[in-house]
């Protein structure tokens, strides 16, 4: 009998503990606020240290702990195409140029600015003395090899032909299978690289900082064969850090300081520990427990932390807009009518969207080329030329709507809005639907949220009416946005075609390439036609990101294109 009593007691305790654990969440509002307060107090002294820290000495222990939102699909610079890989590549490898702390492309592996021929077509780069992480020198041949490899159809590089075709001489032909020796890239000797262009490219230097243009060591790549870049041991590094502890499929990796890096004395961080955390709430909990030094804040969380002293905001040159598909399955959609397009693009309140739904410092966008992205030589923003090209205006939208409906002879229109399957995308699309339907009588919007891979396929098949789409720059020039919508361009996929627009883009790429002012104006005019006149797309917002960052973390540099961040100059100060 004694035994049975003990058993009862044990059972009860177990039941009770489960019950408490399960019910703990019900009345959390009190407990959580109470227990949060001391935590905030402990934060305050840390913040005080920040002011000392900024000017103060770096700590003895230089370890940075970060989270990443997705795993690495590929570390091969020719194959890489996603933000995670480009970010790491930017920190473990280096090209001829690198974006510095002010986001200006400066010579990196190139010893100095290249010699440029009078016609702007031939660039001669002199390489500095630098080594791979295994001690072998980085040579001009490594560049030639890597670029030719990126163009080889057998390799299937997504960015190789995309970035080089039409820019580097012979790239288009080589990517279609021509003899690689026709490519205008020649290593004259170990330290001299001569690049011949198809046409003058004013932004060529910023391209050189992009991952696809990084060098690869031929001997090493050939030796590893199919195993090249499958894990951190099968890679060579020539950047500030070396990738370690990455098994190719895992959720964790480390970046360690590269002793062979030519500028190793600038690099202060010894180790960067990265873990993939896909849930924002988990990342935040890790940040609050002190295990991680930085955590991104998406929509729902952004508002809660708006006033937190540890918040860092960054405006990105990434633009989100609605694509209007004018022809679906061989038939014209109502969106082929310009007035319908104009009506929809003016029918939703962007200010409320960025204030309430996004709440992370994003800007309402009435333009295509983002603000604070490209500047003239005397520092004027490209946006100053055109300003706002459209805007939220219910009355005008309704006028256009009435005209449009009359022109297409309908009283009711049903359109599908294709979007991503993330929580934020769903919330944003629900908001857009409600706004459009409220402000335009007779419009029904059906939302369709699908996984990324499915969306790409629907986009390619042009099987949608409207699509919530985004674009970030590949190089520092308005052209990276504007030439998306040229007739037949691979991103157009909505049957938009304007001769005037096409010819302006052609001029800017061709005859005006050497004349900065005229080129600038041609691109601005093209942007005006696209948005103000044709309303081919409806800009929504320019994205900003918000993150919590511990005050002891200093000098992480964020970049507008290529890899998102540089840790080369980062250091820890005042953590202990």
């Amino acid at each position: 009998m004694k035994n049975s009593k003990l058993f009862w007691l044990l059972g009860l305790v177990l039941v009770l503990s489960i019950f408490l654990a399960a019910c703990g969440g019900g009345d959390d509002s009190d407990t959580s606020t109470e227990s949060e307060t001391p935590e905030e107090e402990t934060d305050t002294p840390a913040e005080g240290e920040e002011s000392e820290g900024a000017s103060g000495e770096p700590d003895a222990e230089q370890v940075l702990n970060l989270v990443e939102g997705a795993e690495i699909p590929s570390m091969d610079s020719a194959i890489a195409e996603d933000a995670v890989a480009f970010n790491i590549l930017n920190n473990v490898n280096e090209g001829l140029f690198r974006l510095n702390e002010e986001n200006v492309a400066i010579p990196a592996l190139a010893e100095s600015e290249p010699e440029i021929s009078e016609d702007g077509l031939t660039y001669t780069f002199k390489l500095r003395d630098a080594n791979w992480s295994d001690g072998t020198p980085v040579t001009a041949q490594d560049f030639e090899f890597a670029w030719k490899r990126a163009l080889d159809p057998e390799v299937g590089s997504p960015y190789g032909p995309y970035m080089m075709a039409g820019t580097i001489k012979g790239a288009t032909e080589v990517s279609e299978g021509a003899d690689p020796s026709e490519l205008g890239v020649v290593a004259e000797d170990e330290k001299t690289l001569v690049v011949t262009l198809e046409r003058p490219t004013p932004y060529f230097m910023s391209l050189m900082a992009f991952g696809t243009f990084y060098p690869q060591n031929e001997a090493f790549v050939t030796e590893k064969g199919d195993d090249y870049a499958l894990n951190s041991d099968n890679l060579l590094y020539n950047g500030p850090f070396m990738l370690t502890n990455w098994d190719g499929t895992g959720l964790t990796w480390t970046m360690e300081k590269n002793p062979e890096y030519w500028d190793a004395e600038t690099v202060q961080l010894e180790t960067i520990n990265v873990d993939v955390v896909k849930e924002t709430s988990t990342a935040l909990n890790l940040y609050q427990s002190g295990e991680k030094d930085r955590a991104g804040l998406s929509g729902e969380f952004a508002m809660q932390y708006a006033d937190d002293p540890e918040v860092v905001r960054e405006l990105e040159p990434t633009l989100f807009y609605l694509k209007f598909n004018q022809e679906r399955n061989g038939e014209e959609t109502p969106l082929a009518n310009v007035n319908i397009r104009k009506a929809i693009s003016m029918s939703f309140n962007k200010q409320d969207l960025v204030d309430v739904v996004l709440a992370n410092g994003s800007l309402p966008a009435n333009y295509l080329v983002p603000t604070e992205f490209t500047f003239t030589e005397d520092g004027a923003d490209f946006r100053e030329v055109n300003g706002d090209l459209t805007g939220f205006d219910v009355e005008q939208a309704q006028e256009f709507w009435a005209t449009g409906l009359e022109e297409i002879g309908e009283t009711e229109v049903t359109l599908e809005l294709l979007g991503g399957d993330s929580e934020l995308a769903g919330k944003m699309d629900a908001y857009l639907k409600e706004q459009m339907e409220t402000n335009l009588e007779g419009l029904t919007v059906n939302l369709k949220a699908v996984p990324f891979g499915v969306r790409l396929e629907l986009d390619e098949a042009q099987d949608y009416d409207m699509q919530n789409s985004g674009w970030g720059p590949d190089y520092q020039d308005p052209m990276t946005f504007i030439d998306l919508f040229v007739t037949g361009a691979s991103h157009n996929l909505m049957s938009y075609s304007s001769e005037e627009f096409d010819s302006l883009v052609e001029q800017a790429k061709g005859e005006l390439a050497q004349d900065a002012t005229a080129r600038w104006e041609a691109m601005a005019e093209a942007e005006r036609i696209l948005i103000e006149e044709d309303a081919a797309i409806a800009p929504i917002y320019q994205r900003a990101t918000m993150a919590l960052q511990k005050p002891y973390v200093q000098n992480i540099i964020s970049h507008p294109f290529g890899g998102d961040y540089s840790y080369k100059w980062a250091f820890i100060s005042g953590k202990e």
Partner: protein
């Protein structure tokens, strides 16, 4: 016995072959493109990439190649989630953590569930019974992602008893995910044991034992419990399925490098090789569990003979 097992294994292989066929053709009608950068690749490059993964062969050839590879344990190559990596390697490298939290969760849940079910049965229709039923139901009525994030927030962050997330501190890292996974087997076992115990308690031999003057605890453990436990084996299969479903959620929330977490991602990016490989892996696991359950059942319960006779 050996003949029975042999026969079952042959059935298993046939079932697997059919499942592989089924998933293969399902995959072909699945929307989405695994060549994620489709709009950047030129038609020539695309052809090359498709050729590399054998996507340009006629369907029967693709099917034959896949099944042939499968026999040799080759599940193909990841198309875009881990470009170029062997699917088999991906699954093997992700198996450990999943197996560990799955096993621990199952063990914890079953043991607690049995206790809970017994208490409920021995005190049928009293407040003890009702509250243990409610505890069990709350266990399954709070979605696992809510439960997991509560565990993380309270036990991990606020109390600091266990790591908040990540797979770094060995056993300690596995505690919270295991508890989160344990809820489903706990509820299943508790309900099952309760019903079985009630039935056993009302059977003749228990009445006899009572008449002979056996004590309450003696009846509960020696007679009722043992006989109630045998049928529990039959729900091990559904429990394993529950654990599998739970792992998708729990691994993602605790950022654990397991198979479930990786499977969700492969669906999102339409990596057909990985989706298929993982599906087949899950099926093998499930069929094995069912087989083991049947064999165990035959060994434990002498009333069931495994000569292949149909019940």
């Amino acid at each position: 016995m050996a003949r029975y097992i042999g026969k079952r294994i042959i059935y298993m292989v046939i079932t697997l072959a059919l499942i592989a066929t089924f998933t293969f053709f399902l995959m072909k009608i699945l929307p989405g493109s695994p060549i994620a950068s489709a709009d950047k690749l030129s038609p020539e490059q695309r052809a090359v990439v498709e050729a590399r993964y054998g996507l340009d062969d006629p369907l029967p050839v693709q099917y034959f190649n896949y099944m042939f590879g499968l026999v040799q344990g080759d599940l193909g190559i990841s198309i875009n989630q881990f470009k170029g990596a062997d699917v088999t390697d991906v699954i093997l490298s992700r198996m450990g953590p999943s197996a560990q939290i799955g096993f621990q969760g199952m063990l914890l849940g079953t043991v607690l569930g049995i206790l809970l079910g017994m208490i409920a049965a021995l005190r049928q229709n009293t407040w003890v019974d009702y509250s243990s039923t409610i505890v069990a139901i709350i266990g399954i009525s709070i979605p696992s992602f809510v439960f997991a994030s509560m565990l993380q927030y309270f036990l991990g962050l606020k109390l600091g008893w266990f790591p908040v997330a990540l797979w770094k501190d060995g056993f300690m890292s596995s505690v919270l995910p295991s508890i989160a996974l344990a809820m489903f087997p706990l509820a299943t076992a508790a309900r099952f044991i309760r019903t079985e115990m009630i039935e056993v308690l009302s059977s003749d031999y228990i009445t006899l034992a009572k008449a002979k003057g056996a004590s309450g605890s003696e009846i509960a453990f020696k007679h009722a419990f043992r006989n109630a436990l045998i049928p529990l084996i039959t729900v091990l299969g559904p429990m394993a399925v529950g654990i599998l479903t739970g792992s998708l959620v729990v691994e993602q929330i605790f950022a654990i490098p397991g198979i479930g977490e990786q499977f969700v991602k492969s669906i999102m990016v339409s990596d057909f090789s990985i989706i298929m490989g993982t599906t087949i892996f899950f099926s093998v696991f499930l069929i094995l569990v069912i087989l083991i359950v049947d064999i165990m059942y035959g060994i434990i319960d002498p009333r069931i003979r495994l000569s292949g006779g149909k019940s």
